[in-house]
Symmetry: C2
Subunit: 361 residues, 2 copies
């Protein structure tokens, strides 16, 4: 996935054309009763992640008949990308759009609301969030910061990444210099690799020059736009480190309670709509991009070997265990998440998984 | 899945307590500008399918501040279950909630908007509907009937069903009397089986007495409520015949255009929210029910053998081919659906499928 520092150097993208939202807003006759700012961690109009934030703002405006007008800011347009959380917490902006693992400095538990290595898929995690107590725990955590969080998108299973050399065994991870943030990076380190941090703008040249051996990014659609296939031909799957990353909105609590109940309902349900919208868009665009990468750009698609996956799975448990041992709220969140996952895996094994296997026979 | 006739005998369920929607509506101070009727194909408050229709109506009311009030009717409360389509078409009700394959008598293409045997999963089909042209084709079809359709839920992969005897080979399908409606039933017939129609209320006793050898219904949660585990112990997966059935709303076009644009947006986005809500609820409740069925009721979970699945897969293509050969709009819809599926399968194979496989190692 995309790391904090990646966007610092990408502010230039803020100069791109203003999205369709503003045009849409101009069509409304009603005078806005609420003018909100939405600060995001994405470069303005960043494909899917940023454009879905625009979609969310537009949906809220349309459903409210223009009574709420939301101006979406790309990273660093109004506040620096990773000050979005604090800005909304103190009310400088009313709403934010990002990913909870960016805020692990506030609470280690936050990252569990984005993704856990070898954790749940998009469909499973939404079951947990909406019907398994997940959102209630998330609200409990963000309440400390005067924020109301909710899910507003999902990437689906990401890709394991781009590798200059083949990965044929656990030994090939040793000394591997890979750009991989967060919990996934921690897991790689335990496997003997060297996770490195790189701003987005430096990934391509670092991979091409051999300064790094590998990198992950998001999935075929975003990866193709980044041109990573020109720097490394081995494209490994599956994205064990981010099997269904939830994107979030967070709303300033004081701003939210000022809304009449119909507008509160509009804001919350628009986020659930956006959650469906993003995974649908990723599914459609990753499909197409994967075909282009394989057929046109001759990318070599490879599964990580089973023993490598087993090793990474075991180490993922170690990394999570250390977090829940030292942080009580993380322990509480993980108990809920993992309890749901154990049931969900059994059901997915006989439903989605068994069907997809049957279809390939 | 659930067949048309199943509900005819279940009208008695309409006497159950009125859902939370009415209570919610009473809380609104605003006088409704639009009083709509939503007719459904489900017994009132039928778990997940019917209660999600209530959820949809409540969401629309809350977001509109009570400007639209929608009274939800269970099957046969206002019009017979399977006259819902005609009732909304002529404006007797403004909105309907059901599944498109109930309307194959109007157009054979309709059933492709619910599910196709060995077709797409929930996540894939939503990619097609929202970002692959699916909804546009659906609108084109229903426009002939003065209706606007959209997706409003998904069951996820269903179960293959309950079988009194084991299915160990293709030969075991020969002469098998199974309650299985629609395209799945057609496929079973080609495999030498005998698909039978039974009202919902007769399924349990027919299975217990041996009048039928097998039945499918929905998934663990709905199947458990029906008590099917008491009549047959072999619970087979996966639901090859319904790998991600889309539930629908259909709206009378004249009623829809009378709404101001903000209420139009509310109705449409509420359906997309409900789509996310239903698959999340099914995921959570099927998880739990599967555990109860296996651990408490000692149900024997079994995968259909690979050669049986391959045979059914081949026959599914035959059944679909015959439909598209005789109906030009079905051909157009299937071309779009299948084009998307071919890409989606490749992506799912390296993402959701590969990850779920890795997690089980």
């Amino acid at each position: 996935m995309i790391k904090r520092r990646d966007f610092i150097k990408k502010t230039g993208m803020g100069a791109l054309a203003v999205g369709s939202m503003v045009t849409g807003a101009e069509a409304f006759a009603a005078k806005p009763e609420f003018k909100w700012k939405m600060v995001t961690t994405w470069p303005k109009n960043f494909p899917v992640l940023g454009t879905n934030a625009n979609y969310l703002a537009k949906t809220i405006e349309q459903m409210s008949g223009g009574r709420i007008r939301i101006k979406v800011y790309g990273a660093n347009e109004f506040v620096p990308a990773f000050e979005a959380f604090d800005a909304v917490s103190r009310g400088t902006a009313q709403m934010g759009h990002g990913a909870a693992y960016y805020w692990k400095g506030k609470s280690e538990a936050a990252q569990f609301f984005t993704a856990i290595p070898f954790g749940m898929t998009a469909q499973e995690v939404n079951g947990w969030l909406y019907y398994g107590g997940g959102i209630a725990l998330w609200e409990e955590l963000y309440d400390r910061f005067n924020l109301i969080p909710t899910a507003a998108g999902n990437t689906g299973v990401q890709m394991a990444g781009w590798f200059r050399k083949e990965i044929n065994s656990v030994d090939d991870l040793k000394g591997l210099k890979m750009r991989i943030p967060g919990l996934g990076g921690e897991v790689l380190k335990r496997a003997g690799g060297t996770p490195v941090s790189l701003p987005g703008g430096e990934i391509f040249t670092s991979l091409q020059s051999g300064a790094i051996d590998a990198t992950e990014w998001v999935g075929p659609y975003n990866d193709m736009a980044f041109g990573l296939y020109k720097a490394a031909k081995n494209y490994y799957y599956p994205g064990w480190h981010e099997p269904g990353s939830t994107l979030e909105t967070f709303i300033n609590k004081d701003a939210f309670v000022q809304l009449p109940s119909d507008l509160q309902a509009i804001v919350k349900h628009a986020c659930k709509d956006a959650n469906m919208d993003m995974i649908s868009e990723f599914t459609a665009k990753n499909n197409m991009a994967l075909g282009t990468l394989v057929n046109k750009h001759k990318v070599v698609l490879k599964p990580l070997p089973d023993d490598v996956l087993k090793k990474l799975h075991g180490l993922s448990h170690t990394v999570v265990q250390e977090i829940i041992d030292r942080d009580s709220f993380s322990k509480k969140v993980y108990a809920s998440y993992n309890g749901f996952q154990q049931q969900a895996m059994r059901w997915s094994e006989v439903s989605e998984y068994a069907f997809m296997r049957a279809r390939l026979l």
